[in-house]
Structures are given as structure tokens and as C-alpha cells.
Symmetry: C2
Subunit: 331 residues, 2 copies
């Protein structure tokens, strides 16, 4: 890649798909010179970002996430929007990309010029995957995509990461009764701005209605994320298309409500600050780990801590002293 | 406090209760010179630690945690042990100490010379409270307490923090049927090494039996923390004492099983390393925040990030450059 960050930023802004794909590849690279160029690229793209609605979507495997995203994406394109679909999936390092990696998924949406689908970057920690997805989201916005969908599987803390980078967190559920309620982690329910029971068609229509009632009841007991928004629980069928237009209307209503109250802007500002600090922390720890004096002392200190010879707090002080070039504590 | 760390360490080792209380007060202090002295104290105490069984106990308010801890503590004392009870409760900053703070709780246990009860340190983040509790635990071990109980209320991430500092995580449940299963966060169930349904007496005996059956069934679907230990679910009554001796036997069996497989030692070693790194990270971020060049640039950078003028990644790079005294990126 010999194109400059300035030229790449311009091509992304012009809406060139290949340039956008290239920009995201640069963003995903861990090479130091690439990271430098990606930072410059993002700085140039920054004034072009922020005008989309950012939608996080989660749900257990089998809930029909890709069918739902395809149905919603096609509906949204028909209404004149451009849709980018990204993913946060830290498990893809092991599975070789379990979500969005399968080319046969979202076939119809993938063929549309108004859509851009990017699989989860492979490898790395949740923090790393989340950072690259956040940056890819900004690149998509700069390229003119005004609806960004970030998909995640319910693995570990990935839902929290996705909720922290989006405006609206949509939880997809399966029609199921009574004690299967426990299948959803309570912390995840509290993240949801919109809950949809998918597969509300055919034999499952009745079960879906009961599930909607159950979750409306359950959500009453949880504190909502916003004072101005009561989390709706609705049924839909990505397969038949039932409830998809209504979902898009609900998303629009959500956006207007939180825009009017100033909450959307406040949430994004808080997300950006949180991101700055987590990025700062990650970089700091990486710098410490790479410092020659730390590398020299670390094996001994780690062994002493592991064997219970010194308290972890003391080891931490010594690591910091080594990093900052201060006198170590007297021994 | 003009006593030296060396003298205090000696008095703690001699089992003087006042010295132990004083040591923990020193550990809980945030003053820089106290932190320094606490570090020296802990280093001296370190060889005397590690010989206890560390038990984390959690459960929703009303489950009867203090009655249970008192019953278990009295039983354990009768068997010749010495018991220390600590708490992790980040909410105590607001409530003025919601757990263990009430002097009327555990009255019988509190009067025994073989027991030491310390309320949760007030104030601070979960990370801060957890660190001080970990250190207090080491001080108690050095003072000869061989059964350490760390209590927590089910607030936020405090259960995870307690599970990360103990050998065995005991979850207390109320007798309750069917769909109330959802009340327990799924992530918490996965932390449990032992589940007890308390209040299995009188009118609630039948409900307790059903709850035991329900949770045995539910736990089948979760991956246990250890390959060598199937998480038992039993009924007990802290009020009548039923099941308390059996609980202590189960804890003994757990300890033997995980000792034999080497898992207990491995878990403690991993806990110590994790603690070292979280401590290092906290100290690093604190050092960065206090650095004059960072303090000078931070308001501008934070405002630019909040307003979406620069990407958070770039702000993070500039903060790091300011901290490390490097040339800032060209602008």
C-alpha cells in the first residue's frame, strides 16, 4: 500500500468502495507504520463522521441475526439509505471468523452497491477487535454510509463493547417460554434499547407472543438505560418480513427522542472519552511491557509473585519504577 | 501511627488483635507515606501467608448471608480454626457501609477471640476496595487466621472481584420457584464452586427442595470452573444449623480435590499475576494523569474528543507522548 493517508481519505470520502476496504485493512493492521498512517487517515476522516445512526445487534446463535440484518438492511436501502455491516467477534481468532465470515450469508444485501459488509477482524483481544471496529465504523461514515450495523455474538463481554460504540443496542430473542428466560444474561438485558422476538411466524407465532409478554414483564423490573425511552419488546419475522418496517420506524422514533433530549450527543461524547482512556491505558501498558528495564525485571518479579514470595502490589511498584527510570524501592 | 512496619509485622505475627486492626487501617489508607509503609508491611508478612482456605460468599440481600456466616464461623471455631470475615462492598461509600457495618450483625461470632470481623473499607472504586480487601486478607493470614471469609453483595462486578481473590466461591440462594431463576445473573452462577439454598426450614422446606432440584438441573447446562469438581447444590438453614456441618465437610473435600490436582496452587498463582497487572495498570494511569505535561494538554484533548474533532486513538497517542516526554505527532 503506497497510497498516502491524504489520498486514501479523499477516495474514501468520494465513496470508492475499494478505497474504503483498503482503509479498513490499514486500520486493522498491527504494523507500527500502518498504525501511524491509520491515525493520520482517521484524523482526516473525522470531520466527515458522526452523521449515521449506529445500531448494535446481539442475540444467541440460531436467533437469525444475519437473516434479520439482511431484511432490515434491504428495507433501509429501499428507503434511500446506505448500510454498512461490521462485526465484533473476538472468537473469530479461533473459529476463523464465525460471524460475517461466511460468504453465503446476507447474499442479497452483499450484492447491493448501497451496502458494505465487512467480516470481523481476525485475532486479538476483545479490546483490540473493538478498537478496530470503532475505527472502521468511522471510515464507513466518512464514505457516506448513514446506517451502521455492528453485529456481535453473545460471547464474554462483547455485547458491552458493542453497546459502548453504538447509539442503539438491539437484542434479538428466540420465541421460548418461562424458565428459558435465564438463558439471557441479566447484564445484557440492561443494555438493550430495543428487544425483538424473531421467528414470530408459523408454529412459533404463539410462543413468540408469550415471550414478548414475558420480557415486557421482566423489563419492568430493570432500570432502563434512558429516562426518556421505555424499551419496547416486539415480535418480528425476518423470514416473512413481518415487523421489519415497524422496527425501522421504532429506530427512527428512538433517534428523534434521544436527539431532542440531548442524550444521543451526550452518549457519543461519553463513549469517545471512554474510548480515549481505554486506548491510553492499552498503549501505556504496551509501552511498559516493551521497556528494556521492565523486560529485564519482569521474569523475576512475575516468578516471585506467582510463588507468593512478594505481594503483587510491591511487584507493581517495582515495574512502574523500572519503567519510569526511578530508583527501585529499597529491598 | 509511629510504629515501624517491622514492629507492626511482628505484632501481627504474634496474633495481637489490635496490631492486626492497625495493619488493616494502614492498608486502607490512601496517604502516600502510608501506602509506602503498607507495602513494606505486606512484604514482611508475605512469608506468613497462604496457609488459609479463602472462601468468597455472595447472595442477594435477604438471603441471610450474615446469619449463615455466623453459623459457619461458629462451627468452624468449634473445630479448632480461627476465622476472619472481610467484605467487598463498593456501595458502602454511598450507604455508609451496608455490609458488616452494622454492629448488631454476627454478634455471637464477633465476641469470640478466634474470630476477627472487619467491615468493608468505605469509599473508592471496586478496584480500590478489592485491592485493600486482598491485602487485608494477607494480613489476617499472617495473624494466624486459617479460614478467611470474604462477603459481597451482588452489586455490579463485585462477585467477580471476590471470586478472583478466593479459593472457593459460595453462592447463597433463597428458596424460590421456576421463573425466579432469572434473578441470578448467569455469569455469577458460572463463578460458583458451591451453591446453597438457605432458609430450608419450616414452611420453606418444600420450596428449598424444589429450588435445589431446579439449580442442579440449571448447573448441568453451565461449564464448571474446574474439571475435577462438580458444583454441589444443597439445602441448608443457617437459622436451625441444618446443613452447616455438611457445608464445612464439602469445603474440606473441595480443598483436598483441588489441592491434589494442583488446581488450587495454579488458581492462586494466576490470581496473583492478574492482581499484579491490574495494580500496575492502575498505578500507570494514575502516574500519567498526574504528569504536568498531561495535565496541561488533557483539557484540550478531552474537549476535542468529546466534540468529535479528533479520533480518541489520536488523543491517546498524544497523551502518551506528553507523558513519556516525546515529540508530539505532527499536526
Amino acid at each position: 500500500m503506497h497510497i498516502t493517508a491524504a489520498a486514501l481519505a479523499e477516495a474514501v470520502h468520494a465513496g470508492e468502495r475499494r478505497a474504503l476496504a483498503r482503509a479498513i485493512t490499514l486500520i486493522e493492521s498491527t504494523r507500527a507504520d500502518h498504525r501511524e498512517r491509520a491515525a493520520e487517515l482517521l484524523e482526516r476522516l473525522m470531520p466527515l463522521t458522526g452523521r449515521s445512526i449506529r445500531i448494535g445487534i446481539s442475540g444467541v446463535p440460531g436467533v437469525g441475526k444475519s437473516t434479520f440484518i439482511e431484511a432490515l438492511g434491504m428495507h433501509v436501502i429501499d428507503r434511500g439509505h446506505r448500510v454498512a455491516v461490521l462485526a465484533v467477534d473476538p472468537s473469530s481468532a479461533l473459529s476463523g471468523g464465525s460471524i460475517l465470515g461466511d460468504k453465503t450469508r446476507m447474499e442479497e444485501l452483499a450484492r447491493r452497491p448501497e451496502a458494505f459488509i465487512r467480516p470481523s477482524p481476525a485475532g486479538g483481544t476483545l479490546g483490540g477487535v473493538a478498537r478496530r471496529t470503532r475505527e472502521a465504523m468511522l471510515a464507513c461514515e466518512a464514505a457516506g454510509f448513514d446506517v451502521i450495523i455492528v453485529e456481535t455474538v453473545g460471547v464474554g463481554q462483547s455485547e458491552t463493547a458493542v453497546a459502548e460504540m453504538t447509539d442503539l443496542f438491539l437484542l434479538l430473542l428466540l420465541p421460548a417460554g418461562g424458565d428459558e428466560l435465564q438463558g439471557i444474561k441479566r447484564g445484557i438485558m440492561e443494555l438493550a434499547d430495543l428487544v425483538l422476538v424473531n421467528k414470530a411466524d408459523g408454529d412459533l407465532a404463539g410462543a413468540a407472543r408469550r415471550t414478548v409478554a414475558d420480557y415486557r414483564h421482566a423489563l419492568h423490573m430493570l432500570r432502563p438505560r434512558s429516562r426518556n425511552w421505555t424499551v419496547p419488546v416486539e415480535a418480528c419475522s425476518a423470514h416473512t418480513g413481518a415487523g421489519i418496517p415497524e422496527t425501522w420506524e421504532t429506530i427512527g422514533r428512538y433517534r428523534e427522542t434521544l436527539d431532542a433530549s440531548g442524550e444521543l450527543a451526550a452518549r457519543r461524547a461519553a463513549q469517545a472519552r471512554t474510548w480515549m482512556w481505554s486506548e491510553t491505558t492499552d498503549n501505556l501498558v504496551a509501552a511498559l511491557r516493551e521497556h528494556p528495564a521492565v523486560r529485564e525485571r519482569l521474569p523475576e518479579l512475575e516468578a516471585a509473585v506467582t510463588e507468593g514470595r512478594i505481594p503483587p502490589t510491591l511487584a507493581a511498584r517495582r515495574l512502574l519504577a523500572a519503567f519510569l527510570g526511578e530508583e527501585p524501592d529499597s529491598e
